[in-house]
């Protein structure tokens, strides 16, 4: 991949983070850190020249790849990414979480470009399996991509779906685990250890790529969706990330699962992002 494309995706990731910060600051909303941790993944999916097949301004295009955000609480980053593709108007973001507005604080299918409303964890992977199976039966070529959090893998429904996807050889299904190693009440390792995620998924019959979830080059390479169908195995990308990535005072601090930034904190954070601190 060309360095120009990487630079372009890096700018997209920074813009997703900045728009996310603006939304949570204005709405005094929570969950900013889990949105920041997956911004690079969304950039590689939704950035122009990115890996997800979508058409600008045509969220219901029938041949689009289906993207589901299982960690629906991190929806601000998705709204930001969709605004960059013309699915959501920029000024809509300013009305995030306001009375009567479509952009609620968990991913909502009322928003153009969002396939599934989420918010309760452990729901999207089973639905993604149904989508991928339906596409295969109907001989449609689109792919299904899901972002899961590591914490939500506590929910058993994910593992029901993981077995199902491998058994039914859903090769056009890709799951990305935003492995930021923190959940609502503390480190994943201390709440309920996941052990080795790559080993777990491998033993379930999935192809596994274990990478740095902020390495745009690696993400772009791993998300080569065109090559997937032939393997007959679903793919999981264990994206090792940092909760709050890109803003030094938010990184790896559980409080930013809940706290909303003040205007001053927002300004500091945006300055850091603009200075190209994301690497």
């Amino acid at each position: 991949m060309s360095s120009a494309r990487i630079e372009s995706l890096r700018e997209v990731a920074a813009e997703i983070r900045i728009r996310t910060l603006d939304m949570v600051t204005l709405a005094k909303a929570s969950h900013v850190a889990g949105a920041l941790s997956m911004a690079d993944i969304l950039a590689v999916l939704y950035g122009v020249g990115g890996r997800l097949l979508v058409r600008d301004g045509e969220p219901a295009w029938p041949n689009r790849d289906r993207f589901l955000l299982s960690k629906g609480h991190a929806c601000t980053a998705l709204y930001a990414a969709l605004s960059l593709r013309g699915f959501v108007a920029r000024e809509q973001l300013e009305r995030y979480a306001q009375d009567g507005q479509p952009l609620m604080s968990h991913a909502s299918h009322k928003v153009p470009g969002i396939e599934l409303s989420t918010g309760s964890l452990g729901h999207a992977l089973p639905v993604a399996c149904g989508l991928a199976l339906g596409a295969r039966i109907k001989a449609e070529a689109w792919r299904t991509v899901v972002i899961l959090s590591d914490g939500e893998l506590d929910e058993g429904s994910n593992w029901e779906a993981a077995m199902f996807a491998a058994h039914h050889r859903l090769g056009r299904l890709v799951a990305i685990v935003d492995n930021n190693r923190m959940q609502a009440m503390g480190p994943v390792e201390s709440v309920l250890s996941l052990g080795s995620l790559p080993d777990k998924f491998r033993s379930f019959g999935w192809d596994v790529v274990d990478l740095d979830g902020h390495d745009l080059h690696a993400l772009y390479g791993a998300l080569d969706l065109d090559s997937r169908a032939a393997t007959g195995r679903p793919l999981v990308i264990v994206a090792n990330t940092i909760k709050g990535k890109g803003v030094d005072f938010m990184e790896n601090d559980i409080v930013w699962h809940y706290r909303n930034p003040s205007t001053e904190q927002r300004d500091v954070a945006v300055a850091q992002l603009r200075a190209g601190r994301v690497s």
């Binding site: 729901h123 639905v127 339906g134 029901e160």
Partner: protein
């Protein structure tokens, strides 16, 4: 199942997903429509989610299992993934009520209506006998959207002398026996056969709540029915809390003048802690023909 299979030959979008149950019942469908059949395994949360996803690709999906497994085990998937999205998934439970009585409380589906009927957009199909079950199955195969089909086991008595056809969509309260007086027995589900002799001897009209929803047309239909007689006895094989009788009373909130006309017979929770045949457990739950008769007067 025969009706479902016949309809599936006509409508090309039906899909059957089973939760590793239906041995001896689903094989014919599977053989005839292998691309539209799936045994998801013993994983009902996944079955409901997969069904929602399949529905989003255009299928009219029927999820099939017994008792509480396709409903309570995956209630949030039904609420969020199916109903909230208006996904065309029909949840089918066989052996609802106390039909699997001797298998114990795990298999007594007596809270399912209470759990499901409040989800906006869901259609409740609670046929009273095999003729109604065939009619609502035909309807569900031909319509989009979420629904719950509550079935007994095989071998129920046919109360309707002939095949019946749906007269209205969204709600359907077919008359199984016409009455000669000013009273009505309104049954929800397979208790229709229990109430039939009582209706005949008392000259009461016998109706079945075969298809309904918590929506304005259904509420209007119930108001109209209650308004047309002096006494309505609502009968169901379900606990009192949140059941169909409870729904009928909610429909009368705005009409206090009609409320005293309604008597409701549902299961006493004593049925929950006992094991036995359907008939035995109905007795334990005070769901008896004698009680229906007493309430008519």
């Amino acid at each position: 199942m025969a009706e479902f299979e016949a309809q599936s030959g006509v409508t090309q979008d039906t899909f059957l997903a089973v939760g590793d149950l239906g041995y001896g019942v689903v094989e014919s469908f599977q053989k005839r429509f292998p691309d539209r059949y799936l045994n998801v395994g013993i994983a009902e949360q996944n079955m409901a989610g997969v069904a929602a996803g399949l529905a989003m690709t255009g299928f009219n999906v029927f999820t099939y299992s017994i008792a509480n497994f396709p409903t309570l085990r995956c209630l949030e998937q039904i609420r969020n993934d199916i109903c909230y999205h208006g996904a065309s998934v029909k949840i089918v439970s066989v052996g609802a009520g106390l039909a699997y009585g001797s298998l114990g409380y795990s298999h007594h589906a007596v809270q399912d209506i209470a759990c499901l009927r409040g989800f906006p957009g869901i259609l409740m199909a609670t046929p009273g006998d095999p003729a109604e079950a065939r009619a609502v199955t035909r309807y569900l195969c031909q319509t989009r959207g979420p629904a719950y089909l509550r079935l007994g086991k095989a071998g129920e008595i046919c109360v309707h002398p002939n095949d019946v056809e749906l007269e209205a969509t969204k709600h359907w309260f077919p008359i199984a026996r016409t009455g000669s007086g000013r009273s009505m027995i309104l049954c929800c589900g397979s208790v229709l056969a229990l109430a039939e002799p009582v209706a005949v001897s008392a000259g009461a009209e016998l109706r079945s709540a075969a298809l309904w929803a918590d929506d304005a047309p259904t509420r209007a239909a119930i108001l109209q029915m209650v308004g047309s007689v002096d006494r309505v006895v609502v009968v169901e094989e379900h606990l009192t809390a949140g059941g169909f009788g409870s729904f009928v009373r909610e429909c009368l909130d705005s009409r206090p003048d009609l409320q005293s006309r309604v008597r409701s017979i549902a299961l006493d929770s004593a049925a929950c802690s006992a094991v036995g045949s359907q008939g035995y457990l109905r007795g334990m739950g005070l769901l008896t023909a004698e009680r229906i008769k007493a309430c008519l007067s």
